[in-house]
């Protein structure tokens, strides 16, 4: 059993969780303005690709991250425009965005790098691993917390920032207002659409970072469809965390832990399919404890007239 629970398990959990957490935060901010973003998977994929492309073109990981952010923001504008201005069903738009991202990245891989399947350059530098000065020398904690890519720390920092933003600042307050009751917000002259755009762009930034962590932090390469469902897990984390940044951190950590754990469990008698199932089952079980009886509340919000 000590083979199962060791420092590297938690260390690996933090790595695994980062892209999911970043994307889930992006999902949360969209959910907060009333846009349910099923397109996270696609946004992260575009982020992963453009991070590699940026690195290839600009030769600098930091510029590459900025490049990825810009690309995903641009991409998320499509989502915003079609669902906000053209009032299409957000879920259809999200699903289409996933298809679009898959096609687009594969095509660009071919058109720009002239390869199929994967782009890999052994000379390309990924994100550095940061050793945190004092912490790295603390026995167990150091092994877990230190030595990750900066985006790992940024993800958790972003969650805290977002928590503060949403619940402590005026602008975050108005953002929540726009999502809670858009008609009322509109009637107060709060620019609901502009806020929605802002949220979608913000989720673009976060998904760009998520993609960059995946393709420059965890590995240094791009392969087709390398998000492998992480965007959907992020969606689950968003909902399980009830769009609260801290809740999203908790649910992402739960999933990341179970995923890291299931990898370790593979050596033990269970068939791989069952160990791979574990994170999903545990997430499902977790919902018994973090349920929100939302259907009545949603219905009340949709139908109540208060007179």
């Amino acid at each position: 059993m000590d083979q199962l629970f060791d420092v590297s398990l938690f260390n690996s959990m933090l790595r695994i969780v980062t892209p999911i957490l970043l994307a889930a935060l992006g999902g949360a901010i969209c959910a907060r303005v009333g846009l349910f973003n099923v397109g996270l998977e696609g946004l992260v994929l575009v982020g992963a690709f453009s991070a590699i492309l940026g690195n290839h073109l600009l030769g600098n990981v930091w510029l590459a991250i900025i490049f990825a952010i810009l690309c995903v923001m641009l991409f998320s504008l499509i989502f915003a425009y079609i669902s906000i201005n053209l009032r299409a069903n957000v879920i259809v738009v999200g699903i289409s965005m996933n298809f679009l991202a898959a096609g687009l990245t594969t095509f660009c891989l071919r058109a720009i790098f002239d390869v199929k399947g994967a782009y890999y350059d052994k000379n390309m530098m990924g994100l550095p691993k940061w050793d945190i000065p004092v912490i790295k020398d603390i026995p167990v904690l150091g092994g877990i917390v230190s030595g990750h890519s900066p985006l790992v720390y940024l993800a958790f920092f972003a969650a805290i920032l977002m928590q503060i933003y949403l619940f402590k600042t005026v602008s975050g307050f108005r953002l929540r207002a726009a999502g809670e009751n858009p008609v009322a917000a509109q009637s107060l002259g709060i620019p609901v659409r502009r806020i929605q755009y802002g949220a979608v762009l913000m989720s673009g930034v976060l998904c760009g970072l998520a993609g960059a962590q995946l393709s420059l932090g965890q590995v240094t390469m791009f392969t087709e469809g390398m998000t492998a469902g992480r965007g959907f897990i992020a969606l689950v984390a968003t909902m399980l965390g009830q769009s609260n940044p801290i809740g999203v951190v908790a649910s992402s950590l739960l999933f990341g832990f179970m995923d890291a754990f299931s990898i370790r469990l593979q050596g033990f008698a269970l068939p791989a399919q069952f160990t791979q199932m574990l994170p999903y089952i545990v997430t499902l079980v977790a919902m018994f404890f973090f349920k929100d009886r939302s259907y009545l509340k949603d219905a009340q919000r949709a139908n109540g007239s208060s007179r």
Partner: protein
């Protein structure tokens, strides 16, 4: 082209209709059951196919399929579009090929990487497990920690060709060695593959073989990061990082695709099945059966190579019989 006058186009038209087949450019299709990007193996096959097309002046067309139903429709469509030869590949193509080839007995088909027993199908299979055996033996001889790992794509029968042969080879030279295997659950999730490799490293492995298609890149990165040794599949992957990717199991799908086109153009095309193993040089291992442009890693060392070469000879001579993991018990 439009302005080049009527006589010209008239000529080519009459040419086409008069000389049934002889003057017409041959059309060959490679219909793949998946998207090329999913597997390095398809990329390699496509390269051999395209190369042959250029060299022998035939019109080639590679068609990818997004899913099994799309594959069936593509196969049927290529029949309808009257290709002279339709090549396909892998076990996934078997069902559809059987049906389509039976329904079109006067069309020519070829399948790579498995065998379909029909009079109008040429099949070329591989005995990868022989090469896996060599790889396993090399790993068993080279390991210092007596722990050896493998990261495979999925826990499906197909990949037993790699894992079982490897295990057998490993046990044959180093019965004490512990064998670890991890499954990614996907063919293109390098990040997860890397985590798996890191876990095996944590469990003491000093050699982790990659058998997870595109995800292998993640294994290679883990190797680079932790100074592990690893191996690749299909082509000589040692060139990518000779210090860590120390061996590569080879499978000549490009050569087979090339040969298939060549034989067809030359008129040497024969139906029936062949299986390529070590003996036929259809599969192999770098440094053992084939030279590599990269330098041999000291982790493996000449000694090991000599021993494995011996094993290879024994297999070719039939002294060692590697069990086909897919054969019925």
């Amino acid at each position: 082209a439009c302005s080049s006058g009527g006589s010209n186009s008239e000529q080519s038209a009459s040419n086409g209709s008069s000389a049934e087949g002889t003057g017409k450019k041959m059309k060959i299709a490679l219909v793949l059951p998946e998207e090329i990007g999913v597997n390095q193996f398809f990329v390699q096959m496509d390269e051999g196919f395209q190369k042959a097309g250029k060299e022998f002046g035939v019109e080639t067309k590679t068609i990818q399929s997004s899913d099994p139903t799309a594959f069936e429709q593509n196969m049927r469509a290529t029949v309808a579009e009257d290709y002279d030869l339709i090549i396909t590949a892998t076990f996934q193509a078997e069902d559809v090929l059987k049906q389509v080839a039976e329904e079109n007995p006067d069309k020519s088909f070829a399948i790579i990487d498995t065998s379909v027993d029909l009079p109008n199908v040429r099949s070329v299979g591989f005995r990868e497990y022989e090469a896996s055996y060599l790889l396993g033996a090399a790993a068993g001889l080279a390991t210092k920690t007596n722990v050896v790992g493998m990261v495979a794509a999925q826990d499906v029968p197909l990949l037993k060709k790699y894992s079982e042969g490897f295990k057998e080879g490993l046990a044959s030279v180093n019965p004490k060695a512990k064998f670890l295997i991890g499954y990614v659950g996907s063919f293109n999730d390098p990040a997860k593959a890397k985590e798996l490799a890191l876990v095996q490293y944590g469990q003491g492995a000093d050699f982790v073989a990659g058998a997870s298609a595109t995800s292998d890149l993640g294994v290679f990165e883990a190797a680079k990061e932790k100074n592990l040794y690893t191996s690749g599949q299909d082509t000589d992957r040692t060139v990518e990082d000779p210090d860590h990717v120390v061996l590569s199991q080879l499978k000549g799908t490009d050569a087979v695709a090339y040969e298939t086109v060549k034989d067809f153009v030359d008129g040497n095309f024969k139906f029936g099945s062949t299986a390529y193993g070590l003996k036929e040089k259809g599969v192999g291992l770098t440094f053992v059966t084939t030279d590599s442009t990269s330098k041999l890693s000291p982790f493996i060392g000449e000694d090991v190579i000599t021993k494995v070469k011996k094993i290879s000879d024994d297999i070719i001579a039939g002294k060692i019989v590697v069990k086909d993991p897919l054969a019925q018990k």
